[in-house]
Symmetry: C2
Subunit: 352 residues, 2 copies
């Protein structure tokens, strides 16, 4: 397997778990046109070349392993003719990376804990698909692309073992918050969605800090982004946008619509202008339609553009942190894995 | 009143609370030599000039307001002939700044919650005096002397109102931890003392992060100091030193004895060398005896001095963060407030 053009080993337990489960469920494959016939047991000896590419940084807490394992399990399941529905595939992907189970669906997905000790009913279910609340715009601030020190899988295990707060969070806070969150998504109630998203992000990082040794995912730049959003929300008297930080320093900021996303990007570019030699086209990336709405093509210079946002005026002259953000990715709630047809999508030459 | 040479107002509620309580308890004062006689009711109209000076930064989360209010209440109580014991004075100081009640004693002090709604039995008690465990050496890393954004008094109130984890911490974790901590201090069990000190510091900051809006006292430099200590402790298989962060970014690091303090300072100076123009004598301050034991007088250059500590060798070349620490203060568990005799200690000229 090649990940982003670099050969990687599949001998690790996380990969082998997924491969074993897939082989157990593999079916026959026949393509008469090409004269191919593969029996179920053939999959134990056949070799497969896999090329994978992700368009966002790996292992920086942006769920790259979730996306990768979901993609790997889904693709191999289709290739090997595994006759299972997505929820069953989600239990396989979960054995590679917990949150990979969620990435098999698009839109809004819930990972249910389940009751079985074996974990067989710990599956992902789709709460609403990506078209349900399609006004949302997401801006990801990629703060650092250094590899993080703690993998999220081992970090979570250490929290469970050593944090005394995580029990309270798991038993009391989360079950209630999930119900409220489902309701907020169902009703497209952005204010409720935003409050709970931010509170839950902060409590997750609180539990990380309560772990021994403590897990420190957020850095000064993360703290600054958080404070910029909190100050803005406080100034408006209602949540304008929601932030959430996963197992790394990068911020995922959700705006209710394109107009607010424009205001958000303006603030982000004011506080975090690109390093002097950085062009705008390589600083704000992602969904072409969103970028077009931002009107970024017509910006010749960020430096002179933005006046400080109104909420900054309460304080002393606003400080700016050029270069502290590597780049921004603009996107929307997305689809799950999809099979692309046509050889021009292939990452490996199909010629033998 | 002048604080560090600058006139400040005493009209705020925190000062007025203390002054009112002291006036209520004031006694007569007679000095026949000087022909002075003051009746209790005279204190309501007399004016007092107060000069105060602290030898560490104000309002950066190093308990400067605790020290200040303890000093103010103690000094005025002596001047005004208030006949109360220290525990009663501690309830007065507490109304200026919560943790000031502890600062009326030296050594190891516990702030008891009390049961009365009025707070009248929420007093400080001395668990052991400063001679009980006098091997301990404390190094404070002063990370930033910028005024912090959240005062610890208002921060704590917001946590109580908005954090769902603080209830669990207050009801379940802290009562048990206090008992264990008292035992660790009684037995001078450094390993137990260190584990609980670090865990409690981290959990305090976890609750701050779980507050809405979140309170962020620790910064990247705080995180680096924490990681340096954790890595060292992990490498040795037992806690060498303990860290605790109060309501600010500065680290308070406790070593069990002078020898380990030497190893600690060597590590701190390795990772945080002074800014190039900073002389060692203005970079490592405090208790003259400790500084002498460090042998700092004989250091001509820090740059070339330290090899990386052994636990750094597991990783890539150790990064160093020159200038990220303003200075270090070396000290020991101290005494409570003391009356200094002799005019050469006075901060105001005694000539009328």
């Amino acid at each position: 397997m090649w990940l982003n053009g670099k050969e990687i080993s599949l001998s690790g337990g996380r990969y082998q778990n997924c491969l074993r489960e897939l082989r157990n469920r593999a079916g026959e494959y026949t393509n008469e046109n090409k004269g191919i016939h593969i029996e179920k047991y053939d999959w134990n000896t056949l070799h497969v070349h896999i090329a994978s590419y992700n368009n966002f940084p790996t292992a920086t807490g942006l769920a790259s392993s979730a996306a990768g394992f979901a993609c790997l399990v889904f693709s191999l399941a289709k290739l090997m003719n595994v006759k299972e529905d997505l929820s069953q595939l989600s239990t396989i992907a979960r054995q590679g990376s917990g949150s990979a189970c969620r990435s098999l669906y698009g839109g809004f997905v819930k990972w249910t804990m389940g009751n079985e000790m074996s974990g067989s009913d710990s599956i992902a279910v789709q709460h609403a698909n990506e078209t349900h609340w399609d006004d949302l715009v997401i801006i990801v601030a990629v703060v650092s692309s250094r590899q993080k020190e703690t993998s999220s899988t081992s970090g979570m295990r250490e929290s469970v073992e050593t944090s005394s707060l995580i029990q309270h969070r798991a038993k009391v806070v989360v079950p209630n918050r999930i119900l409220q969150m489902e309701q907020a998504i169902r009703n497209k109630d952005f204010s409720s969605f935003a409050r709970r998203t931010c509170a839950d992000s902060n409590q997750f990082h609180a539990v990380c800090l309560d772990t021994s040794p403590p897990i420190l995912y957020m850095n000064d730049t993360s703290h600054r982004i958080l404070s910029i959003v909190e100050r803005w929300n406080q100034h408006e008297g209602t949540p304008m946008v929601a932030y959430t930080f996963d197992a790394g320093p990068n911020a995922v900021i959700v705006a209710p619509n394109q107009k607010v996303a424009n205001d958000l990007l303006q603030r982000l570019l004011f506080y975090f202008p690109p390093a002097r030699d950085n062009e705008l086209s390589s600083y704000v990336l992602g969904d072409k339609k969103i970028l077009h709405e931002f009107g970024l093509e017509s910006l010749s210079s960020i430096e002179g553009l933005q006046p400080p946002p109104p909420e900054a005026k309460d304080k002393a002259p606003a400080q700016r942190y050029g270069g502290d953000v590597s780049y921004f990715i603009c996107t929307r709630p997305g689809k799950g894995p999809a099979i692309l047809v046509g050889e021009d999508h292939a990452l490996i030459s199909c010629q033998t």
